[in-house]
């Protein structure tokens, strides 16, 4: 993993860091990837991936309205809002 790859995945993750940290992060990530490369020792050609220990089909529930409108409670946690909406910088000019 080179610095260019690290910049790409940082962009995908919407993260940024100063240049002086770039070296250390690249190093750490390379060490971790080298560590997890041990997985190649396992023979897995016919093995179905295990996504969850339960392996059960997710249940559905009747489509009834159970939640109440709690606009005020939720807007209270928004960093910036008006009476009805959460606000972000203008996206469409």
């Amino acid at each position: 993993m080179d610095k260019k790859t690290v910049r790409t995945i940082a962009h995908l993750s919407r993260l940024t860091f100063d240049e002086k940290n770039e070296e250390k992060i690249t190093n750490d990530l390379n060490n971790i990837i080298k560590f997890v490369d041990q997985l190649n020792d396992a023979e897995t050609s016919d093995i179905e991936p295990l996504t969850s220990p339960l392996e059960k089909v997710a249940r559905t529930r009747p489509d009834n309205v159970t939640a109440e409108n709690r606009k005020e409670a939720f807007l209270k946690n928004a960093p910036l809002s008006n009476e009805d909406y959460i606000l972000v910088p203008r996206v469409v000019e």
Binding site: I25, V36, L50, P53, P79
Partner: protein, 470 residues
Amino acid sequence: MLQKKEISNKEMVEDTFTLIESNKHLNAFVTLNKEVSLKKAENLDNNPSNLPLAGIPIAQKDLFCTKDLRTTCGSNMLSNFIPPYSATVIENLESAGCISIGKTNMDEFAMGSSNETSFFGNVENPWGEGLVPGGSSGGSASAVAAGIVAAASGTDTGGSIRQPASLCGITGLKPTYGRISRWGMIAFASSLDQAGPMARTAEDCALMLNEMCSHDPKDTTSLDENIPDFTQNLNSSIKGMKIGLVKEFDLSKLDNDVVKVFEESKRHYESLGAEFIEISLPNISLSVPTYYVVAPAECSSNLSRFDGVKFGRRCENPKDLEDLYVRSRSEGFGDEVKRRILIGSYVLSAGFYDAYYKKAQQVRRLIKNDFVSAFEKVDVIMSPTTRGTAFKAGSMGSDPIQMYLEDLFTIPANLAGLPAMSVPNGIVDNKPVGMQLIGNFLEESKILQAAHSFQTSTDWHLKTPNGDIS
């Protein structure tokens, strides 16, 4: 004491806050819930209740959403977050009469094994100055070990209940995946996360577990299985119980004295009538690498919700939406969290998905299959919980992998979804040591029974940094 009315509910809660104050140096709490707790206690004094845990002060890990009480997950990102609802497990405990006296410090977003990644500073282990309590449920473990509370909630994704329990000399249990609802738990790795109790004894853990478990329609992974009374089998004899020892766990690399403690516990179990059988888990050595693909992948996805828009921290004066996302996240998250998000994005990205994420999930199945075969031969599996005792803060150096290996013995149970607990079983260099008991699916009762029989015939769980509890 509460039941005998030797102390009022209010006095009990007041005493708890006095203990929090006198143990302030431990930094075990992030937010206190004093006013509400005192009010609840007063109500209980005026209207006595028959609820199973009426009036018991409980410390809640700051990863559970608590309505109207700040919930930070140990992160700057959520340093001002006040949830509009409570986690199901918090509701369950409070419905049983518990008083949530405060929120405990933890590694940021539960990512760490020493409580050194918290935005709110390190937690100290009451067993020694500068010693880490383990992590990520370090505040909960420290608070129980110091005797501030009788019990606390924790969560365990790769060992975050059991490892700090071991390092602080208390008992902690991670139930079967799905036993306790994850609704309202701030997600780290959804296929691994599970809440559980931390307390002095296995019996107290069983009492807590009775109230924490429920089938919750709001969590699609919540198990719709019969929930037994976990205290029912505590006193059954373990004569004839088959305990498995994992051939592949190389104990020769551990501290000699820690191994001696483990051998002593084995002999003790033999004296109680248990039988030891060697089992093989051929793929167990790949547990940590598997975990460090699966957990970061799920974390990078889960933590994408923290974008500075709807709740949590937002950067100052964003110049556009992209800048708002990037700076809010970069300023809000600490180094370890960023590292794991980056690893997750990498292993999930096009071109690497099959080589890492899919491969890790395939190995995860192999590890689970190994356990399924092993449990055909044994009732429980026993190992040390950790490689050693509590270490000094800062002593792990800057290589993250050294810290990752701290969870060598605990991660496999999370990958397979099995219940597992840590039980104090000795003291080395004046610091506690724990052993791990892993059970088969839904067999929390069996590991609790094994732990209880150990605790009723030894006194390691009664040792505290301030002397023995009588």
